[in-house]
Amino acid sequence: MSREPERVRYPARIVVGIAVAILLCLWGVFQSYAFESEYQRQSPDPYQISAQFMRLAPVLSTLPENTVLGYVTDAEAGSTSDSALLASAEYVLAPRLLTRGTNHDWVLGNFTRPADFAAFGKSLGLRMQQDCGNGVVLYRKEHQP
């Protein structure tokens, strides 16, 4: 027995609804693309994490991985800049561990502007071991050889 071929069509309301939904989604993803690409080009790597790897490279090559370092900075305590400097240094230097303060033999100075870093350290009982440039300074406690 031969079956009669069926012709299937859909109400215009449904076809139009689906078509509009597809076009809207495409418009949405295009909008996202335009916004995100513009945003990324305007503010790439907003906390300059890639640059921190270069900035802290001398510390990476100086200190072994098991080191626990103290940490001092001139950034305003509790500010976004303070948190960003510490967190990015922790990320770059891991698995070395950073703790705020000067209670360790090695202390990392992470500065936002030029200053007399040796005098800054001396006031905290630290001796400047290495000025790595770009505001990065390695200190040791005064009693260390």
């Binding site: 069509r9 989604c25 909008q31 990324q40 948190s83 967190a87 990015s88 990320y91």
Partner: protein, 459 residues
């Protein structure tokens, strides 16, 4: 590049295990079954290898043993999958032909291409991801990957509050594993991990909705998700919110497909991803106990292994590190009765929901238009009640945490609420599409008479 091999290996392992040990391949249409196998395999493979690495590589202290175990599992599952391979009919005739399927599929591919292109710009210009990526997830991955026995630093209280050392370790463990196995710290690994979860999420929602509600609605659900601006922003951020969104949506999909063990496994992985996932696991099991009672044992069975790992981590390893909830206990009575906190939080929820838009496009628009065009189905109330109850309770839980938190509420809302919505949005989209009436049900069928009959009619 070698780091990516280990990302791919985890996905492959997961897919082989799902293919061999579940009956997902029996679902129809076959392409949707493959999407589910990929989605569950990718999300599950990442979760499984992360757990193996954490238990064997970190806690037992042998990265090599973890690697050997993984490779052995891969070889065995490949052999098993080959032995039990089955021919799958690629094309099955649906009762009614789907509406505009090639157009929706084409739109989805185009959307995926555009979304990936936008992400590629972010990967290129911000390779280390956004704040939480390098301050929390990838930082802890570096500790876990380090060969010198410094893994415990990943949950050391010395790291301080901003590193959230009490958070679970699925994403960090997975990234750390790929870094350790490849002996590199390539930023491509966390970026690829995030992208794998994005693809898994689309596959789980698209494949699941297709099997539950037909090809048209399934692909439209995936397209709607692929065009969700905040979701697309979160992928290159390399946070744990997209992975958590995948596990939440996946657990609900498999619960609705009557695969409670798989649903429980994914809900367990959600708990190992973020603290919000622990809340989801509890609510998911409670929802299953209420709405799908016969599945509860199997769901608990699936969730138990990773649930035990999460509990052990919280109780023994990270015990000294206060969670958001525990640190918020002092003064909680005062905050609970502060009406302004409720108003602030409610306003922020509304603002963030509106803020999901990009330009004038809001991801609710396609769903709203389809709701107008198609209307709502009435025979899926139980499924909807299950999804709706779990997701509503989850959102209520998030709301409650903002009320209780000791942190500045405005700061907390500004820095986290948009991401919490990203975690829940894909599951909400799934629930929304489940509620829609099938477009195929409105098909108008006319029979075309055969030439012989036409002649007869003319005579």
């Amino acid at each position: 590049m070698t780091g990516l091999i280990w990302v791919f290996e985890a996905v492959l392992l997961g897919c082989l295990l799902v293919y061999r040990w579940t009956d997902l391949r029996s679902l129809r249409p076959a392409w949707a079954a493959w999407l589910l196998i990929f989605g569950a395999g990718a999300a599950g493979g990442v979760g499984l290898t992360s757990c193996v690495f954490f238990v064997v590589g970190v806690l037992l202290g042998s990265h090599v043993a973890a690697l050997v175990l993984e490779i052995a599992l891969l070889a065995w599952s490949a052999y098993e999958a080959f032995r039990h391979r089955a021919r799958i009919d690629q094309f099955t005739t649906e009762v009614r032909p789907p509406v505009a399927l090639p157009w929706i599929a084409g739109g989805l591919l185009l959307a995926l291409g555009l979304a990936t292109a936008a992400m590629a710009i972010a990967w290129d210009l911000t390779p280390n991801g956004n704040w939480d990526a390098w301050a929390i997830w990838n930082l802890r991955a570096k500790f876990l990957a380090s060969p010198g026995g410094f893994a415990s630093r990943a949950w050391s209280p010395v790291l301080g509050a901003i590193t959230h050392t009490e958070y679970p370790l699925l994403v960090s463990g997975f990234v750390g594993r790929a870094w350790a196995d490849s002996s590199t710290l390539a930023s491509t690994v966390p970026a690829a991990t995030s992208y794998v979860f994005f693809l898994a999420l689309l596959s789980l929602v698209g494949g699941g909705a297709t099997i539950l509600r037909g090809s048209t609605l399934g692909l439209l659900a995936a397209l709607g998700l692929a065009a969700t601006p905040p979701l697309l922003r979160e992928v290159p951020a390399q946070y744990s919110d997209v992975p958590l969104a995948s596990y939440i949506a996946g657990a609900l999909v498999f619960a609705l497909l009557d695969r409670p063990v798989l649903a429980g496994i994914l809900a367990g992985f959600a708990a190992w991803t973020k603290d919000e996932g622990v809340l989801f696991l509890a609510l998911f099991l409670a929802g299953t106990a209420v709405f799908r009672r016969r599945d509860i044992r199997a769901a608990v069975f699936g969730a138990a292994p990773v649930g035990v790992l999460v509990a052990a981590f919280k109780l023994f390893l990270s015990r000294g590190n206060g969670s958001l909830l525990s640190t918020s206990l002092p003064g909680v009575g005062h905050r609970i009765f502060d009406a302004s906190r409720y108003a602030t939080t409610l306003a922020a929820f509304g603002r963030e929901f509106i803020g999901m838009a990009s330009g004038w496009y809001h991801p609710i628009l396609p769903l709203a238009i389809l709701a107008v065009a198609l209307g709502f189905e009435r025979d899926r109330r139980r499924d909807l009640a299950f999804c709706g109850a779990v997701l509503a309770a989850l959102l209520l839980g998030y709301f409650g945490i903002y009320i209780l938190t000791v942190n500045d509420i405005n700061w907390q809302l500004q820095t986290s609420l948009s991401r919490l919505l990203v975690q829940v949005w894909p599951a909400l989209v799934l629930a929304g599409f489940l509620a829609l009436r099938l477009p195929e049900a409105a098909a108008i069928i006319t029979r075309t008479p055969q030439p012989k009959e036409r002649r007869k009619a003319r005579a």
